[in-house]
Symmetry: C2
């Protein structure tokens, strides 16, 4: 079984925040941007930023930093965000609706062309401009769109079954917001989004801060 | 400025999925669980799993693995999930509503006691059982609850302003779902949730898979 291991995963995860920050700083002008400045904005170590950015193939110039335009292009190219990627979303509950309205995605080349749901009250609506189609027509619609990427926001109880249908229709990349570990064939990639991970980080940061404050409190 | 750096961040992020998997496997019985089995379930390397678990202070026994009960307790204690943590949520849009209904949180000791919104059509409602209160009363309510943790799901345009109010009311841990890099005083921790990170991972995995398939395709 392929491990789908991305050795630089934490670096990849940070790239979108670099992109966001660099675009913000770009507005303030200047042809070059330093790793130190990006680091300061994001509260990271400069050496970490420089290391992360090397995965995109770009190298900064000593004293000057990175050429802004080229840096943005390099990150986008590395992530494949320089071309438009069509995707569908399945399951228009709260999370699904939230993702349909998530503006950032458009800037990342992600175009949500349709959503699917079983609920007849939702079918025919547009949610944040995206048409909601009947889940019964999913197979034929996905084939006719020729779309390869799907966002899965159905209830966990129907996650595997829906994934099976999606894959049969030609989907080979699933962004999985359910808490089910999907079983998929070799050629399909899955990114499982686990909101608990972020909460774990918050908890551990808070504990670290509490300990730090206990240490520095006057005795 | 404190860096709020958690050196073992990727390990911490994986702990919730370990917890989930171990609990699933616990149902199948057995007093011990091996790192190899956890690794297989989650498609990780066994050495990675063992390394990640050491941060919780637990050590497996050769040939037997980890005592299941103690392992669950160790992870929960490390994350602070063995005690109930009250929190409020601000901004009952789609994302806010999705988080109010996210069942996993309850199992992690996170108890959402109230939500706040400005919209009079929402005030007074219960969303997934959580009462929606007026944002105008936020300061006094948070003080009277004595709650320290807040989930921020307001529009980005009011993110900083809302965070300032929350901190003034006594909040010292913010789980930030907006795309604003919040400016907060030294004693406050922030965990910024960036959904684009997950999409970046999906894209990079997909590219890696496509390359792999091109390599192995018969010439």
């Amino acid at each position: 079984m392929a491990k789908q291991k991305i050795s630089a995963a934490p670096s990849v995860r940070r790239l979108p925040s670099y992109l966001h920050t660099i675009r913000q700083l770009q507005k303030e002008g200047g042809e070059y941007i330093s790793g130190t400045l990006i680091a300061r904005e994001l509260n990271l170590e400069p050496i970490q930023v420089r290391k992360d950015l090397t995965i995109t193939g770009i190298i900064g110039k000593p004293k000057k930093g990175y050429p802004v335009e080229a840096l943005i292009k390099a990150i986008e190219r590395f992530l494949g965000w320089d071309t438009v990627q069509d995707a569908v979303l399945v399951g228009v509950g709260n999370m699904g609706a939230a993702l349909l309205g998530y503006e950032e995605f458009r800037r990342h080349g992600l175009r949500l062309i349709a959503a699917f749901d079983k609920d007849y009250k939702k079918i025919g609506l547009r949610v944040h401009g995206v048409p909601v189609l009947s889940a019964d027509t999913m197979d034929i619609q996905i084939r006719s769109f020729g779309v390869k990427t799907a966002i899965l926001t159905v209830p966990s109880s129907s996650a595997q079954e829906t994934a099976d249908l999606l894959i049969k229709a030609g989907i080979d990349a699933i962004w999985n917001f359910t808490n089910v570990k999907l079983k998929v064939p070799e050629h399909v990639v899955v990114q499982k989004e686990d909101l608990s991970s972020g909460y774990a980080m918050l908890c551990v940061k808070k504990q670290a801060k509490d300990m730090e404050e206990n240490d520095t409190r006057p005795k």
